[in-house]
């Protein structure tokens, strides 16, 4: 046995000791009531938007509800696994098992390291590229002192290529060093509960190697930034605005504030009142029923029947002319036609 193997055996023995002496106290069962409330709230918002004919808002809320239901499913699965874990008797974890697991990690990962002072065990992935976006290599760092009851681990981008809109997001499913485990949550919990450390590292690595386009922190399509709908320039997160009507992405230069409601809109969703010249959104604009020119609500509101001043004056002149003509035309002129 060489020096490294001896050190690895010491770590394995220490970890096995953690499992042997771990508290048998069982964690409280956490029911996802908060998520269920969020789902109900989203459903109410969908109904409200639907009643008012806000189709885009309803669609956005349906998307939010879907994400909440996915999270709810994960939490339910976690609760089930937690109860199963309480019911099942924990298999004993030997130092030999853990040592063999740690040894096998060298066959699965490019680099495996441990720090006895910080009580951490790390496996390093190869540089990852998902759907053409280069994310770099990641270190999966397990705090083995937290085992087995309150396992903690971090995902560290060792050569980070974060999303342009959020530097904390180094991977579509990693934010601030925390992996959102999604479908892998229960399997990760079980692996750590059972002391199957190699399985834990493999599951986490395979999670990192997989992109779930349905539920990322930041979509890979938007990783490098988003194109401004109006001027087509690439917009980073800090400079990104969104049209309050059509949700189009905008740069700060193209985001147009409505002078009436103060919300922000894209070029297509705004217009200029022909009377007062103010720039207003489509929500605050009204068309003259006759000439169909655009007015802000306050300019057209001054007139009755949704007609602008010009059209009303024109109508009045036409009416006056007609009345004047009717008064001066002799009766026989009509009969001669």
């Amino acid at each position: 046995m060489n020096t490294q193997q001896r050190q690895l055996l010491r770590v394995a023995t220490a970890i096995a000791q953690r499992y042997a002496t771990a508290s048998q106290s069982q964690a409280a069962i956490d029911l996802p009531a908060d998520l269920w409330s969020q789902c109900n709230a989203s459903l109410r918002r969908i109904e409200k938007a639907r009643r008012r004919g806000w189709l885009e808002a309803a669609a956005r809320q349906r998307g939010a509800l879907m994400n909440q239901l996915v999270d709810l499913r994960e939490r339910v699965a976690q609760s089930v696994a937690s109860i199963q874990g309480m019911t099942a008797q924990r298999r004993s974890v030997s130092a030999a098992d853990i040592y063999q697991d740690l040894q096998s990690l060298h066959d699965e990962f490019e680099t495996v390291s441990f720090n006895r002072h910080e009580n951490t065990l790390s496996a390093h992935t190869e540089p990852l590229r998902l759907e053409g976006v280069f994310l770099g290599p990641f270190e999966i760092r397990l705090d083995w002192k937290s085992l087995p009851d309150e396992p903690r681990y971090d995902i560290i981008a060792t050569d980070p290529h974060p999303a342009s809109c959020n530097e904390d997001v180094t991977h579509p499913h990693v934010s601030s060093g925390q992996l959102c485990e999604g479908d892998g949550k229960s399997a990760i919990c079980r692996a750590l509960e059972d002391g199957r450390l190699a399985d834990f590292f493999l599951i986490v690595a395979n999670l990192l190697r997989t992109y779930n386009s349905g539920s990322p922190h930041v979509s890979l399509d938007d990783w490098e930034g988003v194109r401004c709908t109006d001027c087509d320039t690439l917009v980073a997160g800090d400079d990104r605005y969104s049209c309050d009507k059509c949700s189009a992405s905008l740069c700060s230069d193209c985001s147009r504030g409505c002078e009436k409601c103060s919300d922000y809109f894209c070029y297509s969703c705004t217009g200029e009142c022909v009377r007062c010249g103010c720039s207003v959104c489509l929500y605050c604009l009204t068309r003259c029923d006759k000439c169909e020119k655009i007015y802000c609500e306050s300019c057209l509101h001054q007139n009755q029947g949704n007609k602008c001043n010009t059209c009303r004056e024109q109508e009045k002149e036409e009416q006056d002319d007609f009345e004047a003509t009717t008064e001066t035309v002799p009766v026989h002129a009509h009969t001669s036609i």
């Binding site: 096998s104 066959d107 999604g182 229960s186 399997a187 395979n206 997989t210 539920s215 990322p216």
Partner: protein
């Protein structure tokens, strides 16, 4: 014959199970997993295994999906 069977798919599962003598890795996979073997890392006693490898008493067999979807 008793082996330690580990399924890292879904909720995760690890327990001792009874299998017939002469059971191969491929047969165990077909019986226990609904999927394509190429989508899984298959290990016997922590080492990559061939489909036709015959399992032995006390073997540790693990199936780990190579694609697992995270969330946000």
């Amino acid at each position: 014959m008793r082996i330690l069977f580990i399924n890292n798919d879904g909720a995760g599962f690890a327990d001792f199970i009874e299998v017939e003598s002469g059971t191969t890795v491929a047969k165990l996979f077909a019986e226990r997993i609904h999927g394509n073997p190429s989508d899984y890392l298959i290990r016997v006693n922590r080492q990559p295994a061939a489909a036709e490898q015959v399992l032995q008493e006390g073997d540790r067999v693990s199936f780990t999906p190579s694609k697992i979807e995270g969330a946000h």
